[in-house]
Amino acid sequence: MDFLALTPLEIEALNLSLRVAAWCVAISLPFGIACAWALARLDFPGKSILDGIVHLPLVLPPVVVGYALLILFARDGALGRVLASLGVEIAFTWKGAVVASAVMAFPLMVRAIRLSIEAVDPGLEVAARTLGAGRMGVLFSITLPLAWPGILTGMVLAFARSLGEFGATITFVSNIPGETRTLPLALFGLTQAPGSEAAALRLVIISTILAFSALIASEILAARIRKRLAH
């Protein structure tokens, strides 16, 4: 059963991938909910532009996103300087990998949450207002609880997208062992080295199991929530 034991490289890449994906979901969720709510429920000038910007990473080559992040977050970049003054450096660190995958996963997350917010009957929100809840109160007590299955879906999609993120990550934070070498980057490294086919295949299997488990888990959770809302 030796083949079930993970190698140090696999453990390192797996841990890093999970950490990056978890942080990716955590930091993009508040922005994702805010964006999705604004797009679903508000009418404001520039709404279609915001919609376009949110969806841009879906259609841009990932290398373009990675390069743009590199320019922005480099030590002398616009955002890099601000972060450097706060003592934070993200270029070429695992935090950079979080930012890269968060940007790439953002459209998927916003789309799922937006659809579920749009499916919430606005009449219920109006009823909540007449019962004394303000706009924010309605969001947290009515809209988000009812949109929860879609929010969960958005989180899982973002998590899975982050696990698979490659192009923007390698462009932005490079392929540094133990720092930014997530599963896809480790796999890429192995495919470049002769005689590593077996090791590469193991990473393929690990990645597939991971992504598949995330999807199954979200389906089970969402089904449970839907059942609770229906009865």
Binding site: R129, L131, G132, G134
Partner: protein
Amino acid sequence: MLDTRIEHSFPSGFRIDAAFRTGAGRVTALFGPSGAGKSSIANAIAGLFAPANGKITLDGETLFDSASARNLPPERRRIGYVFQDARLFPHLTVAGNLDYGMKRTRANLRRVARDQVIELLAIGPLMGRRPASLSGGEKSRVAFGRAVLTSPRLLVLDEPLASLDAGRKAEILPFIERMRDELAIPMIYVSHAVEEIVRLADEVVVLDAGRVLRAGPTVEILNAGAIVHADMGDPGSVIEAEIARADAGDGLTALSVNGGTLFVPHLQGARDGAAVRLRIRARDVAIARERPKGLSILNVMPARVRAVEDASAAQADVMLDIGAPLWARITRRSARELALAPGAEVYALIKSVAIDRGA
């Protein structure tokens, strides 16, 4: 005291231009056909719709004033709202729904006791259930409870019975009456059903095509003449009466109407001296010049003709005075042959009486 003045033109071309004032009664009905603007007015009062022009004040507080750009948001108006569809929150239990508004009401403003409301609406056994498992009638009772538990200064009911079948309506009406009588919350009751209004409302604002046709005490408005009662579906009269003898023998109850006596089938739970409100359809009233003999109709009352109006090519509406106004719809030929003219002494033959309200 609610003072409302609203002007608004909708993109569809529909225009509301309505002003009215209520306050004397516990329940004021906004009454009119669908598309008359009733719901828009109710929404403006609750803060769910901001008209282009107007001013709304409640008990001296300005809720909305287009001139000073004041528009209090709905959550700060302290106006309860019961929607046509109950709009219960599906992710909360019945108890969670009831508490939603109550816990958002400042403790020192809570005047309505939770236990009293639960008992009054008979929703105690439902507390742990989710809205999806409730029947239509149960949902509307929970929606009433949820709204009144915010201790509102005014309760707006927007056709709360319209989505229920006749059986459910009959089940819910007594609950609304109990809320009116026991909780002392003024209500605005939006409806196009004359039976509901006669039964519940003290005052009526009659709306048509966005305008106020008439406003005033229910009995006065609903008897005000052919023009108004033609808008109300089945023309008829509304009469206040008193129970003279609850048990008048033969399973009948005797009612007194300004000295005259009307017999109706025994009224359940009737007490001598209690006030009731009757509705008598104009087509259930016939007129005779002399007191008829050998007639199966029990209720024959001396009357005096007050007015004769043509209702259609063939029919006329005759307003009789039996101590209260009573409309009769007869053919124009009969009116001519009986020489009915204001002042004529006749007998009113009343075929059937609907009891709409035990007050």
